[in-house]
């Protein structure tokens, strides 16, 4: 089971109490889930242990080393909800990670809603990428 990782701004998701069932705020969707050509850029990892790789791929495109937050999307849940993805060459100087980039594609308003809504259980936990970058991961439960 692979996971897809995407950078988000955590504070936008906590504008509402999503862990207790509140609706996701519009800011969270428009700031963190901005689509291009109906696709959403994500980085693939095979297990949570590889989260560092995805974070590295993301921050390698940055001009500033700053704390970032990421969300992990479970591929099984995406398949169950008929959300498809296509390989898309990643913009990173790290050759080993170039092929780990994908686009969630053919997205529509309802499908985007599925992606951004944790249906059952949400788990936030801190993760240290290195001394300078901390990421916070949001994991969709498998049964979502």
């Amino acid at each position: 089971m692979s996971l897809f990782v995407r950078k988000i701004i955590k504070s936008k998701w906590y504008q509402t109490d999503i862990e207790n069932g509140d609706d996701v705020s519009a800011d969270a969707i428009t700031n963190c889930m901005k689509t291009k050509q109906n696709t959403l850029s994500v980085w693939e990892i095979e297990s949570p242990d590889e989260l560092d790789n995805a974070v590295l791929a993301i921050v390698s495109q940055h001009q500033h080393l700053e704390t970032i937050d990421v969300v992990k999307l479970d591929s099984v849940s995406l398949v169950e909800n008929e959300i498809v993805w296509v390989e898309s060459r990643g913009l990173t100087p790290i050759d080993d990670l170039v092929d780990t980039h994908f686009d969630l594609s053919e997205l529509t308003y309802p499908k985007l809603g599925i992606i951004v809504t944790p249906k059952t259980k949400s788990i936030w936990y801190p993760h240290k990428e290195n001394d300078d970058v901390m990421s916070i991961a949001f994991e969709l439960d498998e049964s979502a």
Binding site: S11, N31, W124
Partner: protein, 218 residues
């Protein structure tokens, strides 16, 4: 140039290389009545001001002139960029580039300008967050002390996102002083308090600060 106070006092001069005693006296008098001078600052070039040879007033006038220019010509541009631009942590925005270019021209006036915009828009969280994100990317000593003052004010703001940006600024600067300030910050917002605690741990490790007895008691 023709309307500058400098030239109005001596229309016979065709060059500005050697200001006369008369000019300098005029400038001192005018500077004492600064409101008069400042209203005409846009008509003075930096060369005109520098050639007066009046050190103190020269610096004040240059800074005042720059601040006035920033307020009148660039505040609306900055506000527009902060409102309209998409922001991503880690990536430069046009607002970053605007502020950095102004900092290169005159950091003293630019810091005063940012501070004044910050105060003026203190109830507008979008603008506050934007300014805090920009100053967090500037070096601690370059933005000192206005940047730190703004970040401290953010820590007591009622909006959680503004507060987070204050924490991020101190995290980014990473100074020992950041650690002292963040140590005293408490919030009811769980995720933010966890973030603050994490930053404190990182800063302690970075500065090799061990826990004291008071920390154990908390």
């Amino acid at each position: 140039m023709s309307n500058s106070p400098f030239q109005l006092t001596d229309k016979t001069r065709t060059d500005h290389t050697e200001p006369s005693k008369f000019h300098i006296d005029f400038f001192i008098e005018e500077d004492a009545r600064s409101s008069t001078v400042l209203t005409n600052l846009d008509d003075l070039s930096d060369v005109d001001i520098l050639q007066t040879g009046i050190t103190t007033s020269k610096e004040n006038i240059l800074n005042s002139r720059r601040l006035k220019s920033l307020r009148e010509k660039f505040t609306s541009e900055l506000i527009y960029l902060l409102r309209e631009e998409d922001f991503e942590y880690g990536k430069d925005t046009k607002a970053d580039l605007l502020v950095r270019s102004k900092m290169e021209q005159n950091d003293l006036a630019t810091k005063a300008w940012l501070n004044s915009v910050y105060v003026e828009y203190f109830s507008n969280t979008l603008i506050l967050i934007g300014i805090l994100r920009i100053i967090a990317r500037l070096d601690y000593y370059v933005i000192f002390p206005e940047g730190q003052t703004m970040a401290i004010a953010a820590l007591s703001h009622r909006d959680v996102e503004v507060k987070e940006c204050g924490v991020r600024a101190f995290e980014s600067w990473g100074s020992l002083n950041s650690l002292k300030i963040l140590n005293g910050i408490r919030t009811d917002t769980l995720w933010l308090q966890e973030y603050i605690d994490k930053v404190i741990v990182d800063l302690r490790r970075e500065h090799n600060v061990t826990l004291c007895q008071e920390d154990y008691q908390e």
